[in-house]
Symmetry: C2
């Protein structure tokens, strides 16, 4: 999918955090030959041990400072709420001219969290729009970023050469790289990701609470709609807690609009206003077509599940 | 997937409505040899012409009465709101002892709509929990019902032999057949399907309304959450209008509970209550595991999209 780069984009890449995203970066970098050497660190001994066993990094070290020492690219692959503490820890060990980036789903809060890093490094926040509902060091795979967007939110006084190199690295990993202002990123993501996730979490919680409808029935008959919500609502709890706490304003604004619209549709149901419902559902249908045309999903029936079922299943 | 039946379960099957479900029934029945002959009718000449061209029925006729004449199984594959009119039309033409069933997503309203059918037929409402976001005669495929549930909601004075035959027919089409009381069906489906669909429609509508966030950006960066909502919200507008209008009470009850929960989570975000969010998200994650264990979805990363992308895509 992504071409071999020929020579590494960065000589020594340090990954702080070895979950789904960190592990996938290591595997995708290896596939592309995009890094001379990948050094990894994770907070828990258990994750470090699993990462060593899988072997997706060239080396797993015992501290974040050790990982970043000598690195020309450092990527923080930790929940947004942990960024500030990691930044404080690595700051003294960062090499002059190093690129320090991240993969957080919120950019304003990350920029704030990284504001204390020394002037002699290049801070370039980034957000690959890719993931699954799985987490942990065993969940990564090299294809995760293929044909997905990676949004960079460069700082006003950023270094163009460093930004170009980071973009080249992500393209080597399979991603389409684009730049965006941090505030705009946080609003767009509130619409496309943060609010939908909170809504999915809520709906799954409601289903769990329905005492008259036993959990087993809800699970058993989940195929038509609810199933997709549970996938979204199975995402990493720590990551999502931090997303909502750090992108609070934009998420609450979108949720406010959502509630207004929901009340209007509920009222149409209550009053039997079929024309309003029909027109609304016709409008939303068109948006789907746009996403398929944009190459961000497949039109295959049932999401390609039928085809996927014939092959081996991951996690089973 | 489903074994050949050996001899047909029904001699002459009439399908009224030739969209995604009607077309898939015809194809699955042919695959299994479950019907001696399948006769189809659709309201519009255009759909009848398309169905003739595809050839998934043995015969396409020009009226519903003609289709049901002599049939020992009649399946109404039309939106719930159209059931009463179709029932009135076919009533005089139904053969004595015929099984009359349907595929509607709401059962209480369908039972009411079919209450005027003659006593000499067996009315057995049914609901296959299967579908895609596509509709129309070209969207059907023989595997649609494989490993999906088909819920029968037999009437209190129903005929056990006829119910057994209809169950056998659906099993031959690949489905797992279960019986359920109609009121319970309508409540369970409000949780697992109807409320989630309305919520997805609402969220997609909100995104469309966001003037500050252009439609193209929302579509472009839809990969993380929103994309799954748009798939759900692309479902047939007529079908879903009818579902909400006819399962009004159960849907509104679930939506009321949903709004309560959503407000509690919004409040947790606003007040920075990270523990509440973390605990909630941890609880919902467990439900996902249950669905995978129940065989109603795959744990493959990204819904198996990565694998599906290598093969040919439908609709492209």
């Amino acid at each position: 999918m992504s071409p071999l780069v020929g020579h590494p984009v960065f000589e020594r890449v340090a990954l702080i955090g070895l979950g789904l995203i960190g592990g996938s970066i290591a595997l995708a970098a290896r596939r592309a030959g995009a890094a001379g050497r990948v050094v990894g660190y994770a907070r828990t001994a258990e994750t470090r041990e699993t990462a060593r066993r899988i072997g997706f990094c060239d080396e797993i070290v015992e501290s974040a400072s050790e990982a970043v020492a000598g690195a020309d690219l450092v990527i923080l692959c930790v929940p947004v709420g942990a960024m500030a503490a990691v930044a404080a820890e690595i700051a003294p060990a960062l090499r002059e001219g190093a690129v320090v980036s991240d993969v957080g789903s919120v950019k304003g809060a990350v920029i704030e969290a990284l504001s204390g890093l020394p002037d002699h490094v290049h801070v370039i926040p980034a957000h690959p729009l890719a993931g699954t509902e799985h987490s942990g060091p065993e969940s990564g795979f090299a294809e995760l970023f293929d044909n997905r967007y990676c949004l960079l939110t460069p700082l006003p006084d950023g270094d163009a050469e460093a930004e170009g190199r980071l973009a080249r690295f992500w393209r080597a990993l399979g991603a389409n790289v684009e730049a965006m202002a941090p505030e705009r990123h946080d609003l767009v993501l509130a619409v496309t990701s943060h609010a939908p996730h909170l809504i999915a979490y809520t709906m799954v919680g409601v289903a769990d609470d329905m005492r008259r409808v036993t959990k087993s029935e809800v699970i058993k008959y989940s195929a038509a709609g609810f199933r997709d919500f549970t996938r979204i609502a199975a995402s990493d709890p720590t990551m999502w807690r931090d997303v909502f706490l750090t992108n609070r304003e934009a998420t609450l604004e979108i949720l406010g609009r959502f509630t207004e619209e929901l009340f209007a549709l509920q009222r149409a149901i209550r009053t039997g206003n079929g024309d309003m419902l029909f027109d609304y559902f016709t409008r939303t249908r068109a948006i789907r077509r746009g996403i398929i045309d944009a190459g961000q999903d497949t039109a295959a029936p049932d999401f390609g599940r039928v085809a996927a079922r014939s092959g081996p299943k991951a996690g089973e």
